[in-house]
């Protein structure tokens, strides 16, 4: 019923999705939608396009709108173009007490953008605060592209950001 081109999913993405599909029963392909969207987003430098979501829908035999619902619901999916590196500074209670406000201010100042914005060169994106990232023992902390950086200081932040290409 869905008639979309799945070919815009790279071979790597498709093999990753296939790996996830093996974990679920044959008739429950849609169970792999979160993994599939994550791979598709990864393939596209950190954000999803309608075409990519349609491709995931086609690949998993779901209706397009069902995939849009998932992608727009979860905060780890970006449905608008954003910078390549997604920076999430935790500002929940533990990190807040450990001075996460300074870290946020420092990152914003260093990159010259506000939270929720991307740098003009498309390299960085500061994600709006979501929920506690569950690394309270290492606060203040931030996550960049699924990688956790803990016990942050402004110097350490500089070092981390400078090391990214």
């Amino acid at each position: 019923m869905t008639n979309t081109k799945t070919t815009i999913l790279s071979e790597h993405t498709r093999s990753e999705i296939d790996m996830w599909l093996e974990k679920y029963p044959e008739d429950k392909k849609q169970s792999a939608v979160l993994a599939a969207l994550r791979e598709a987003q990864h393939q596209n430098d950190g954000y999803l396009t309608t075409e990519l979501m349609d491709a995931v829908a086609g690949y998993l035999g779901m209706s397009n709108i069902a995939v849009y619902e998932v992608a727009s619901f979860y905060s780890m999916f970006e449905t608008q173009p954003v910078g390549r590196h997604s920076i999430s500074v935790c500002t929940n209670i533990s990190c807040l007490l450990m001075g996460s406000d300074d870290i946020v201010n420092h990152v914003e100042k260093k990159l010259g953008i506000k939270t929720g914005e991307s740098t003009a060169d498309g390299k960085f994106y500061i994600k709006c605060e979501e929920e506690c990232l569950a690394a309270c023992c290492g606060g203040p902390m931030m996550m960049i592209d699924h990688k956790y950086y803990e016990n942050l200081t402004t110097d350490k932040v500089d070092e981390i950001l400078d090391s990214l290409d």
Partner: protein, 793 residues
């Protein structure tokens, strides 16, 4: 039964209930009202609005009646303080974000939220905060969105998934950013989409054509029968003054349940088309002149008598729309035969009439509409049933989702909204061969005796495993049907398809059914509006010409009832030529068009479907009568009255009817004894010819082009289900002819040629082109099926 029955107590009353029922079903059945927004009896339970919270004894907190299964001895209070407090709290939540501007909302006056807010809402809101605002989406020409008003009941979302079979609406975003919509800008394309207007409990989804044109308390509700398919959906007309403002479904569980197709919902706009003919007109020396009825009818008498005297009554051809009422068709054939004219037909989009004498009394559906949801298997032959008969398709879909094997033989790979067990897409010329192969597979496996003629007929066809699968599915099912659709009916070898389908049904012990096209296709046969049978199915002593013969014979005179031959007939070119060349064309029509004005000599304004009383006999043989909801526009008159007067001025006997009910009584007497059935009413199949290698034309009539009313319904004409006037070819054929999308192709059929836009459409099989009928661009081409040539223009 008694094992499954339990007793519960609601508001002090003891009620019987079935095990497994939800509480709200029991209260509804016993007229105990529990407020609700998301619950709908035809949709799955979502339990997300929480409005139906009730108090259940021993439960620690109020429970949603829609999602609480009944249990023996359960004690429920729907009016207790706990229940009402819970409902009032939910109402307060719902109104946090819902705008409180009912006076400017189109739903005002028929809004479930407004009604319940009267009962459960506070008079002052405790909230000072800003309300959420959601941007409206454009979801097509039929449905207006006002999504700020949405309360997220998800009825429209569930409808798409569960009923329309096409999930187009969804809830994107989360928390207070959740929005109902299509996410991307797109039109909702389901043929049943209009039902979400009725489902929406608030003003978030309303009718676009109706928007801001009336208030519900100004409307008077009148009953009617939907005129654009053969199901006979029950409808309500909402009338303001003398005008139908909108159409809504009326509940009839055995026919349309609570649904209505978009075509039947929005076609009323066509009634008020600018080109409605409002006065009788006659052509004098090439120019049209408005006259009074008396003059017009005198002219009709004089001219028809002129033709009869100069030639004979056999030179009159009478074509009537199969959407005309039973009474109109009965009077028309009575009038025609009384003046000696036997050429009368309503089978406009049919070409093969060769077995008309042996077929049943009317093209019967084979079973009741409601029985389509309990089938085990179905073989559909030449049918895009989803667009032809949306309600039947909806029922068939229910069967398919329960595991029934729906199998298909079609010349175009139409989209179905349920899984198919088998699908064979072949050229029209190969369709008989495919059926013969299935028949042969059946003969191989079945022990029932088959006559030699049939055996001989299938001797040379090949049988593959695909055919055997179809055959075995039909044989193994206790409840199976073989169905012939609109494309089969229009097929140049319809009689052969019919006989093969008949034998397949007989051997596999299935039913045989015809999905006929129009509201009164069945009634037309029963009323005698066919050239070979009288009303009640009595054989005619002198058989008249059928539609094609009438048009090809270029008769001297034609009488048309609600027909635009160049758009409604199987061979548009021959139809137009016949009209243009005739000495006399009398058109009983609700509309004037350039074409009609060009060929007609007299135009008599007849009322449109909502303006006349009458009867439709639906595909399963159910007779449903209705009264006119509004008076006819201008000088237009119901056709049955006009035909009665014609009978009188021709001094014919038996035209002294006082009302359409009198006519109905007379027709019903003749057809009372007829039992609908199809089996054994066909000829044995004749030899199957090997088909040529020519490029073949396939013609479909898109759902919103089916008759003159739909073609003038402005909003329906903006949907995708209209003729595009293009030629659809697949990639292979396009490459072969060096054509690409949107190119212009020179298309030749017989000795005429037109230029048509190319649409690459891979639903079309090799060696075929698909053309959509009833479009002015292709009238000159001609026959709906046959050999065709294309080249780059």
């Amino acid at each position: 039964m008694s094992d499954d029955q339990i007793t519960i107590e609601v508001d002090g009353k003891s009620l019987k209930a079935d095990k497994g029922q939800m509480l709200i079903e029991v209260t509804d059945a016993n007229d105990i009202y529990v407020p609700r927004f998301c619950y709908h009896k035809k949709l799955t339970v979502a339990a997300n609005c929480r409005m139906c919270l009730v108090e259940v004894e021993k439960a620690p907190k109020p429970l949603p009646a829609c999602a609480t299964p009944v249990m023996d001895g359960m004690v429920v209070k729907t009016q207790s303080k706990i229940a009402v407090d819970a409902q009032k709290s939910i109402m307060e939540f719902l109104l946090i974000n819902h705008p409180l501007d009912c006076p400017i909302c189109d739903q005002g006056g028929e809004c479930e939220l407004q009604d319940l807010a009267m009962g459960y809402g506070g008079d002052v809101s405790r909230y000072q905060e800003k309300k959420r605002v959601v941007k409206d989406k454009n979801i097509g020409p039929l449905i207006q969105t006002d999504l700020t008003r949405c309360i997220h009941c998800t009825r429209c979302v569930r409808f798409g998934e569960e009923v329309a079979g096409l999930r187009e609406m969804g809830a994107t975003g989360r928390g207070e950013n959740m929005e109902i919509g299509t996410y991307i800008e797109k039109s909702v394309n389901s043929e049943l989409s209009g039902n979400i207007i009725d489902l929406c409990p608030v003003g978030a989804l309303t009718s676009k054509p109706f928007r801001y044109s009336a208030r519900t308390w100004e409307l008077v509700q009148k009953d009617g029968i939907a005129p654009h398919d053969s199901v006979g959906s029950n409808i309500h007309f909402h009338v303001k003054g003398d005008r139908v403002m909108r159409v809504a479904p009326a509940e009839n569980e055995s026919i349309n349940e609570v649904w209505l197709s978009d075509r039947d919902r929005f076609s009323y706009e066509g009634v008020y088309s600018d080109d409605r003919l409002q006065t009788p007109m006659i052509k004098e020396e090439g120019s049209w002149k408005e006259v009074d009825w008396e003059t017009a009818l005198d002219v009709v008498k004089e001219k028809l008598n002129g033709v009869i005297e100069s030639y004979s009554a056999e030179q009159i051809g009478i074509l009537a729309s199969p959407s005309s009422t039973l009474e109109e068709l009965y009077l028309l054939q009575k009038f025609a035969r009384d003046i000696g004219a036997n050429n009368i037909d309503t089978r406009l989009r049919q070409a093969d009439f060769s077995d008309q004498d042996s077929v049943s009394q009317f093209p019967y559906l084979g079973q009741a509409v409601s029985e389509f949801e309990t089938l085990q298997s179905a073989l559909l032959i030449g049918s895009n049933v989803r667009k032809e008969q949306p309600i039947i398709n909806h029922r068939l879909r229910k069967s398919a989702l329960k595991g029934a094997a729906v199998m298909l033989l079609n010349p175009v790979d139409y989209d179905f909204n349920y899984p198919l067990a088998a699908k064979s897409i072949v050229t029209p010329a190969q369709m008989p061969n495919e059926l013969a192969s299935i028949l042969k597979a059946l003969i191989e496996t079945s022990d029932s005796s088959v006559d030699d003629e049939a055996k001989q007929c299938v001797e040379n066809v090949n049988v593959t495993d695909a055919h055997r699968t179809i055959a075995s599915k039909l044989i193994d099912s206790e409840n199976a049907i073989v169905l012939l659709g609109n494309i089969a009916t229009a097929h140049p070898q319809f009689s052969l398809l019919r006989s093969l389908a008949g034998l397949i049904a007989k051997i596999s012990k299935s039913k045989l059914g015809y999905i006929s096209e129009a509201a009164n296709s069945s009634g037309a046969w029963l009323a005698g509006a066919v050239p070979h049978r009288h009303a009640g199915g009595k054989e005619c002593a002198s058989v008249g010409m059928n539609t094609n013969e009438m048009l090809q014979a270029k008769l001297k005179a034609y009488v048309l009832l609600g027909v635009e031959p160049e758009l409604d007939c199987w061979d548009s070119r021959v139809a137009r030529t016949a009209m243009n060349d005739a000495e006399l064309v009398i058109s009983l029509t609700a509309y004037r068009s350039d074409e009609i004005e060009n060929y007609a000599d007299v135009m008599l304004p007849i009322s449109a479907f909502v303006e006349t009383s009458g009867t439709y006999i639906n595909n399963e043989g159910i007779s449903q009568s209705f009264t006119g909801a509004v008076p006819p526009l201008g000088e237009a008159r119901p056709a049955w009255k006009l035909l009665r007067v014609l009978g009188n001025i021709f001094n014919l006997d038996g035209f002294e009817y006082q009302s359409s009910a009198d006519v109905n009584t007379e027709v019903m007497q003749t057809i009372a004894a007829i039992k609908p059935e199809n089996m054994d009413h066909w000829r044995s199949p004749v030899a199957i010819e090997k088909n040529g290698a020519d490029l073949q034309r396939i013609t479909e009539t898109p759902m919103n082009m089916i008759d003159s009313i739909c073609r003038r319904a402005v909003s329906l004409q903006q949907t995708d289900d209209v003729s595009d006037g293009a030629i659809h070819i697949n990639t292979l054929l396009a490459d072969k002819n060096n054509l690409s999308d949107a190119d212009t192709a020179k298309v030749e059929q017989d000795d005429s040629a037109v230029n048509l836009k190319v649409v690459i459409d891979d639903r079309v099989p090799d060696d075929c082109v698909l053309i959509q009928s009833a479009h002015p661009a292709q009238i000159d081409l001609g026959a709906s099926f046959g050999s065709i040539r294309i080249a780059k223009a």
